[in-house]
Structures are given as C-alpha cells and as structure tokens.
Symmetry: C3
Subunit: 349 residues, 3 copies
C-alpha cells in the first residue's frame, strides 16, 4: 500500500541510490523513522543521527551523502535542498489520504443570485456569499464563511471554516485563508474634532496575490482610499494585524502576533519574528529580517537582521537593571564628571 | 452625476471661494486629485503641493488659504478643521453609492421567539438571535452573527459579519462592531487551590455607550460581579483585548493589538499606540497618550505622552547593548569605585 | 428564596459560626455586601474592612477569624482557602439562575451522517458537525460552531458560539472553549527554496486534556507530524497563540495576548503574564512565572519569576534613556578608559 521510491523520485526528482522497489508509506523525523518511512537530513549537525536512522530511505544533500552513506545502509535520495524535497514529499503523502471536498454548494449555504460559483468549487454548510462575488474553479469555501459583495476568490484557493472576506476584496490562485481570519475590515481612520472622532470611510480594497497563506484570526484592513496590497507568495501566520494601505512585498513571511500599522511599505523576501511590530508609514527594504518581539519605529533601508527587545532576567535582576535604565542619563553625567576631573588631575602633573 | 460644491457647502458648512456650480464626484489625496475631485490640505507643510494640485476644489484652513490661493486656481472651501471636513465629505460621497441593507430578517436566520427586532433593522443570513435580545431601529446584523439572551443592540448600530455578542451585554446607538469581535466573553478569573484553578463565574456584563467602534477580532470580557464599561465615542481597533471590569473613558482611542488587563480604569481622551499593554487594576488619567509597544506597569496620574520600548538596532549592536543592559549594576558599581578612587586622589593633593 | 447557610456549608464544607438558618441570595465584595449577601476575606490586609462589613456572613480563614470575630457580628464560615471557597460558592449561586441549554440538535444545524452526538448534548443553531466527529454527554455546542471530521468533544465540555474545532483534534471533559477560538489550525511550517516558501503539510493534531479553558479568539496550531499537547487543567485567556507541537504542562495558566512559538515545551504550574512571548523550541521548567510583556528568548531550567520589558517613562525621558541604551558600548568603553587612566595615576604616586 506504500509508494515505491522509484515512483517518488519520478514525481519529485532527486537521485536515488538504492532499490527503487522499496515501498514507503510516509515521512517521519530521523529519531522516529522505521522501515516503512522515509526521513530527511536538512542539518549537517545531525549526520551521525542520520547514519543510525532506521528509516527505509533518507533524503539528503550530496555534501552529507558522502559521510552518511559510509554507515547508513538504507536507500538515499540525493537532492540540492533536502528540506524542500521533504516538504514536497510530505505534500505527496498527505494528498494520498486527504479529504477532498465534493464540488457543489451545500443546501444550507446562502448564495445570492448574481454570485458566480465555479462548478468545480465547493461551498460548505452555513456559508453566505453575497451578490456579485466570484468563487473560482476548484476553490473551497469552508463552513460558516462569509464572502461579501463583489469579492473574488481565485482558482484553487481554500477558505477554512468561519473566514470573513469582505466586499470587493480579491485573493488570487492557490491561496489559503485559515479560520477566523478577517480580510477587508475597515481601517482605523478618524479625524478628530474637539476630542471627538469622526469616521473616515474606508473605501479601498484588499488585493492579495497568488500562493498567499493567511493565518487563523489574522486581520487585514481594507485601504482608506487606495488599496491594501499583499503580493504573491506572502505567508502570514495567526493573529497578525495588517493596517490599511500597507503594501507587503512578495515572499515575505511573518510569524504569529505580528502587527503592522497603516501605510507601511514592506519589501520582498523579508521575515518578521513573532510579535514584531511595525509603526505606520515606514518603509522597509527587501531582505530585512526583524527578530521576534522587536518594535520597528523607523524605516529600514539596508538589508540585514534587526532586533530590539529587553533581555529576560530573573525578576530581581530585572528590577535592578530596569531602575538603572530609567536613570541612564544620570550615569552618563557621572562619567562625564569623572572624565573632567581626571583630565584636570592629569594636566596638573 | 457629481455633487455641486454649493450643495456640499450647504450640507457641511465652510466658506466657499469659487463657483458653486462646479461638480465633484469624490475625494482624492493631493497628489492624485483631478478635475472631478475635491482634495484637502490638513498639514501646512503640504502647502506647496496643494498649490500645484489638479483638484477641482480644496478644503483648507484660513491660515493656509492665504498662501495657497496665491497660486492655486481651483475653488476653495475654507473651514476651521479641514481634516474633519474631509472626513464628513468622504462620508457624504461614500453614502452616495453605499449598499443599504434592506430591512427585514433573512429566512436563514434563527431568531428566537421572544427576541425583539425593530421593523427597520436588517438581520442577515445564518444569524442567531436568542430569546429576550433586542435589536434597535435601523440596526444591521451581518451574516453569521450571534446575539445572546437579553443582549441589546442600539438603534443604527451595525454588526459586521460573524460578530459574537453575548448574553445581557448592551451597546448604544450608532456603533460599529467589526467581524470576529467577541463582546462579553468570560473574564479570566480563577481561585487557586493547591495548584488547581477553580473558575469564578463571570456574571457581570459589558455596557457600551453610543458612537463606539470596535475592531475586527477584538475581545471584551464581561465583568466578574460588576460590569465592564466602555463609554461614548471610544474607538477600538482590531485584535484588542479588554479584561473584565475595565472602565474606558469617553473618546479614548486604541490602535491595533493593545491589551488591557482586568479592572484597569482608563480616562477620557486617551490614546494608545499599537500593541501597548496595560497591567490590571491600574488607573490612567484623562489625556494620557501611550506610545506603541509600551508596557504600562504603574498608574499614571498626569496627562502626557509615555513610552517604554527597547530601541531597534542591527542585531549585532543589539546583542552588545542587551548584554550590557543585563549587567548595568556592574557598570554602576564600577562608576562608584572610580568616583571613590578619584575622591581619594583629589584629596591627597 | 435564598440559600440557608447551613445548606451552603453542607454542600461546600467549612466550619459555620453563626445561625445556619440565615438565608443569603448571592455573593458580593466586602464594600458592597448587604444583609442578603455573603462576602469573603481572602487578603488579611482587609481585616478591618471585613470587620465593618454589612454582609450577612463572611468566608474567612482561621487566622483572620480571631481578629475579625472580635467586632464582626454576622455569621462566619471558616475555611483553609477562603478565595477557593468563594469561587465554589459563586459557582453555586450562578448555577441557581443559569440558563441550561435543552438537549438536542437545533433544526438549523448541519450534522453529518456518521457524526455521533450524545443524546444529552446540546447543538445550537447554524452549527456544522462533520462526519466522524463525536460530541460527548452533556456537551454544549454554541451557535455557529464548526467541528471537523473525526474531532472529539468530551463530556460536559462547552463550546461558546462561533468556535472552530478542526478535524481529528480532541478535548477532554468539563472544558470550556470561548467564542472565536480556533483549535487545530495549520502550524506555520514551510521549506524555503530560492526565496519561495513550500508548505509543509500539518498532519498532527491538537490533544487537549480535561478541565481546560481556552479564551476567546485564541488559536492553537495542530502539530506538523506529532501532536500539540495541552495537559489537564490548563487555563488560556483570550487572544493567545500556541504554535505547532507545543506541549503545555498541567495547570499552567496564561493571561491574554500571550504567544508561544512552535515546539516550545512548557512545564506544569507555570504562569504567564499578559502579552508574554516565548520563542520556539525552548524548554521551560515547572513553576516558572513569566511577567507580562516579557520575551522568553532562552530555555529556563530553574523555577522562579522572570521579567524583561522596557520600563515606562515620560516620553522625553524615554528618548534620553533609549538613546543611551543604543550607545551602551560607548559608555562601557569610556569607563574602561577611565579605569586605565586612574590605574596609571595611582601607580605614579
């Protein structure tokens, strides 16, 4: 019932060293893999562990293969990027017993006359789709989702249960939006008159490219006048907040709990650690990496890794260091005074 | 199909300098505005740009009008607060092609016998309204919303799709609650007995005033015994957490991802930058402004701007500064030792 | 219509000093309690206030009883842990007028053939339950919830309205999941190939023990290959994010807005203040307490309280201290130079 290694290599590439008729039924980590598993070595530090692995086959790089093959007796698939190969192999095995929703519209769904749902799309129970919305070929709309007037869901895109996708927003092909995400909610825009806030209507949209993943309970504001843009291949984890009129460059990834204030312009191929925050109206260059828990309070024009969080300590030690942090100006003044006194002392000699 | 400037001024006030028969069809930023647009100048630094604007008309202050009118040849609407005027004008133009939900209850909604829904209210598809709940005149309940037993939604208030509004909570008139928000969830209250938590029932409510906006996926806890209070005109952005028994004063605004722990008492006219955090049982005076990413760990009795986040740096520099922060006490001791030595040296002279 | 003190003590234990026939109708704080209330003293600092309380009865410890009984003339219930006793008494009074959902499945719910719902369970309106899912005895599934294929909801567990509980995940008995929570969403796992992310299928589950509470809009990722584990008695507040393959030990509690990155292993009896963050792949020992707003960036092997957030200051002062924090290395170098100069000066003598 497994998959022949020969077939796997035919599908996914790589050079097979070993019997193509060996059958594997799934992927497992090095430590857990048994005779029906394929495993992978993506970190050379684990070569010794890989060499001892009970896996039927190993995915690894040419550089590691030389060492590992000296003692490891199973089959090997040699490839440039073993971790990417693992991801594709895992996708393949997951697809074998994946649940595939049947095309069609559940009878409990409310689909407005004037909405267009492709024949190959699936619309689950308790869904609402408003007039003028479009759901592309092979798209999957999970139970309880809401799709507003004129919104467009691209081909092959999946909305998990209970996603809210507001009017006129668009997502391209092969995207995933996880449960509880809200796309196209109003941006936070107000004028203040004598202390009282007057709402500025948010009439822009959210425009999302192809191959974009959006995590559970993440929120993306629609633009005020212009649109909020998320380019191809962006990956957003859970509970992220993207403000109105942001522009996020292609293939940028953000871990959970990140917040980006309005009108920030973020480059391509950036990464943001969990709970990193970005103030509004900033520009961040391509290939910038922000560490977890860091507050980006100014634009960044140079690629690189940036960090800014208070180091953790035992509470008693923190209390000491925090008290000094408050009074660093005093400390600086004392040093200046010392420098002056010493200068005098030295000159007197 | 546009609106005559004369009509706009009749509706919204301001002094028109120019032809009242000029027609405008919408609002645009200074840089993008063309002959069918009205634009606005709310920041005197942009006077030069305004003077060059292609807009048919400009909203601006008397102070800016003198300079701008020297070169700008379009019509001008002179008003005290151009940004507030812009907001109202934008509301007007948005209303012209806004979708207006039809009064009535969608057949797929489950409205309990004993719930009272005003005839002019709209209840969307897949909604649940429990017994004893009230929905006021002109209120709009979006698809998939839940309104618990005895809850009250005020006149003209709109709940976007997939809002959860729990039993016995109340919101006043003209409010907006965005998708995924949860109002009246249990506060986090437990007694601890030998390491095991025993739940304290949360029997209070959430009471929300008029003209309050609550953002997408924001959560507001119900009170433990007494109520959680949000006064008139408060504006909460997305993904904010308000703990049980908090009291938020009128016209206070919080940006995305702010967290407020239980029983905090926050004044009127305050602002909180994104991801600011407030510990429990604190009191914050009126007109306090907390910067983004700052942790409020003590009560604040004086109006003003408060800040506390670690400054961002290149990672290598941060590693250096963070290592020193951990050891600030050592640095302080060294300075003390130097001061002592120098005192001795000086006295020896 | 109240409850006799004698009956209360029979149910909940404790030693009654006073008339067992006194009737009380509910619990109130010391300051508000009147003749129909029972109140409690859980903090010895409030002894004086307790002694003046107008409550019909007081719950207190033997240590406090001696002092308080000298002047307080109402009845007293003496018990080891008055706060835990208060919690149980509050539960008792809340149960008297609690709304109890009727067993059965609302006609608007979509329950797949092949799902098993216990006869004593309640399934609310607009719910979706997929094939193979199980809902235990006395469980309550609120309006609009989604329960995926093969998921298991334990006996007596309650899902408030609009919870998403994904396929194959499990929660034990007597749990509570609040509105908007998403259990079993995909973890954030990708391989990177030439800048482009390739999704790693998330085929693990979320396994939740007994007596676990999960807050509103909290998200818990399913494991990548293995499972995400939340042990018995864990209490998670609102808007918490738990990454894939985390393991959270029994009776650990986390306040709102906490984030835990993937594969973190957290001990038993820990507490996390609001907005605390934990990086991935860390180990945290039992009985560790993390202060609010602190970033845990390394494993913690020793019980205790840990803290790390930038102290709040008036903005002008923060600007000064933050500028110095950036340049702490310069300050350290100056001190070293001073030390050297002084050493020379001293030696010259």
């Amino acid at each position: 019932m497994g998959t022949r290694l020969g077939e796997l290599v035919e599908r996914l590439g790589g050079q097979l060293a070993g019997d193509p008729n060996i059958e594997v039924s799934g992927i497992a980590p090095l430590a857990d893999a048994g005779v029906s598993h394929i495993s992978f070595l993506s970190n050379s530090k684990l070569r010794a562990q890989a060499a001892q692995s009970g896996a039927a086959a190993l995915i690894l790089s040419a550089a590691d293969d030389e060492t590992v093959s000296a003692t490891y007796t199973g089959a090997r698939i040699v490839t440039k990027n073993p971790y990417a190969y693992f991801a594709r192999a895992a996708q393949y095995f997951a697809s074998l017993d994946a649940f595939v929703p049947v095309p069609g519209i559940d009878p409990s769904a409310c689909v407005a006359a004037g909405a267009r749902v492709a024949a190959s799309a699936h619309v689950g129970p308790q869904v609402t789709i408003e007039a003028g919305a479009e759901v592309g070929e092979g798209a999957v709309i999970g139970a309880g989702c809401f799709i507003g007037r004129g919104a467009v869901i691209g081909a092959g895109t999946e909305l998990f249960a209970n996603v809210t996708f507001h009017a006129r927003c668009r997502i391209g092909a092969r995207g995933i939006i996880h449960s509880g995400a809200v796309i196209g909610t109003d941006g936070f825009g107000f004028a203040n008159e004598g202390g009282v806030y007057i709402k500025i209507p948010q009439t822009g949209r959210v425009i999302i490219g192809d191959d974009v993943d959006i995590g559970a309970n993440t929120t993306v504001d629609r633009g005020a006048l212009a649109d909020t843009i998320i380019e191809d291949g962006v990956k957003l984890d859970n509970q992220i907040q993207i403000g109105h009129n942001c522009h996020i460059g292609a293939h940028t990834a953000m871990a959970g709990c990140v917040g980006v204030a309005g009108s920030a312009r973020i480059g391509k191929y950036c990464t943001f650690g969990g709970a990193a925050m970005v103030l509004g109206h900033l520009t961040i260059a391509d290939h910038v990496h922000i560490s977890s828990g860091s507050m980006v309070s100014r634009s960044i024009h140079e690629a690189g890794q940036y960090t800014g969080f208070y180091p953790l300590a035992k509470n008693a030690e923190w209390e000491k260091s925090a008290a000094i942090v408050r009074n660093l100006a005093t400390m600086r003044d004392k040093i200046r005074a010392l420098e002056k006194t010493i200068k005098t002392l030295t000159e007197q000699k």
